[in-house]
Symmetry: C3
Subunit: 211 residues, 3 copies
């Protein structure tokens, strides 16, 4: 179980870095910038979470996260055409979705264990862990970020982390099971979004002012 978690975590770190490189590449960026963007996207969310929690940043104890992000960034730079192929890109999106689910629930679990700001903080920090790195990347690259788009990227995380908090409050003895169910719920929701191109309905969005 532990090592499955770890393997998904590393695959997810790599997927975060690769999708980051693909996202910023069209703007014209050099290899150094590519590596910074890849690393920031892959570890930025968890770093923000740990800083807010006041605990040591997770990658200081296990540099594999940094090495994997760095290697994946270089690979994405060198073999960009490979990763932009349609099937490969779709595969990346699903790995990204699985990683988002895993990282979010790992974060919620960490916050719950620390008894930090229950019951709201596990949800808030789960979301920050999942999307924080991407937000920093988009700000640095001058891209519109996902908060301003209609993509359903963070909403599955919101549901999954809320579900986890409810489960921990009422069924604390089933922690592992709750974790697995919540990760699969987020991934399932996210996979449905990717597969059917779902987006936020009009009634839940403000109308942009047309100038």
């Amino acid at each position: 179980m532990e090592s499955l978690n770890y393997a998904i975590g590393m695959a997810g770190t790599a997927a975060f870095a690769v999708t980051a490189v693909l996202a910023v590449a069209p703007k014209g960026i050099d290899l150094f910038g590519v590596c910074v963007m890849g690393i920031v996207t892959a570890i930025g969310g968890g770093t923000l979470r740990d800083i807010i929690l006041g605990v040591p940043v997770f990658w200081s104890a296990d540099l594999n996260y940094l090495w994997v992000a760095l290697a994946a960034s270089v690979a994405a730079f060198v073999a960009q055409p490979l990763f932009t192929r349609k099937e490969m890109y779709r595969l990346l999106l699903y790995i990204d979705g699985l990683a988002v689910a895993l990282f979010a629930i790992q974060a919620a679990d960490k916050v719950w264990t620390l008894q930090f700001g229950l019951p709201l903080a596990p949800v808030l920090l789960g979301i920050i862990t999942a999307i924080g790195g991407g937000l920093i990347r988009d700000v640095l690259a001058g891209r519109q970020n996902l908060l301003m788009s209609r993509e359903l990227y963070a909403v599955p995380v919101l549901f999954g982390c809320t579900l986890f908090v409810v489960a921990m409050a009422y069924l604390p003895q089933h922690r592992s099971l709750a974790g697995i169910v919540c990760v699969l719920s987020i991934f399932g929701f996210r996979a449905a979004v990717i597969h059917w191109h779902l987006c936020v309905p009009d009634c839940l969005s403000t109308r942009p002012k047309t100038d």
Copy 2:
């Protein structure tokens, strides 16, 4: 006194969230993004301050700040036309001004108590507390932020916090009185700015290059 502070703090948190939602709504944003922007604006400045101070973030001990920001964001999303009515919006601006004043002096007082980087840090962190959340919001929303505008938003905070530091240095026995006077000074200055639409004079601003 304590409970008056707390009530103003909560009203201010709500006002921060509502004005944030009104600021980003014209760009077209969904309910999830609205809640993130509201919460980030309401608690972002204080969170930055606590991270720089190396102390636990203030909302981890009192989740009411998060709940109020969340509720105010949803309310602003649902009842947007109500809050954009002229009188209501002006009222919001004044509540926002009072909250800015209170949060800034509370921050300066906290920094002073911790004896952190005196005498400059209370002023710097008072300003960061007051405007940090709005800066993060504007960066995330891709809006021009107040540092690049001519609005007199942070300058009253600068004066008020400086006044507080001077008062603490020379009249440390009158701490409560100094706090009240400084909050009222900031609010009075800010109210004058809102009422008379004051802005930074030309001589204190660089000329923008016209292309």
Copy 3:
């Protein structure tokens, strides 16, 4: 040696603040914004590093960094034409380059001493210290940042910090010498970049999509 370090550090802090003001001035910004941008650029990178390390921010123990940044910002605002004169601006660029070199190796040395995330973290945090302040400034000012340009600004830092880490791993007894050599390497590389207007070759950069 200590006092030479300190003098370069202060000159560098001033140079960071002045170049920041010159960078944002063409956008039209008032004196308050100028001071915020100057201070953020001068101390932002080191502050980020210390927050990630979980240690007290460096300027809380020595406010001279803040005072120098503040004074330099005001000076740059008042005497802007003086600093934009060609020879003066070139001198600033070289002082900036020397400061970048010094701050990066000081950071790498600090991280090494803390035994934090060796061997990658000294390089990563050396880079963050050197360019973090400038990145925050550009994000706040809505400017394109150096990650998205072809300028060789951070690459010399990457080489210098890597060299330092290698030296510490194999020749730990020559710490001071390694520090000096690495600072001079970064500065020499950066001076060559400034003098010959070097930039990243095409093969190490993605092609920007032309719309």
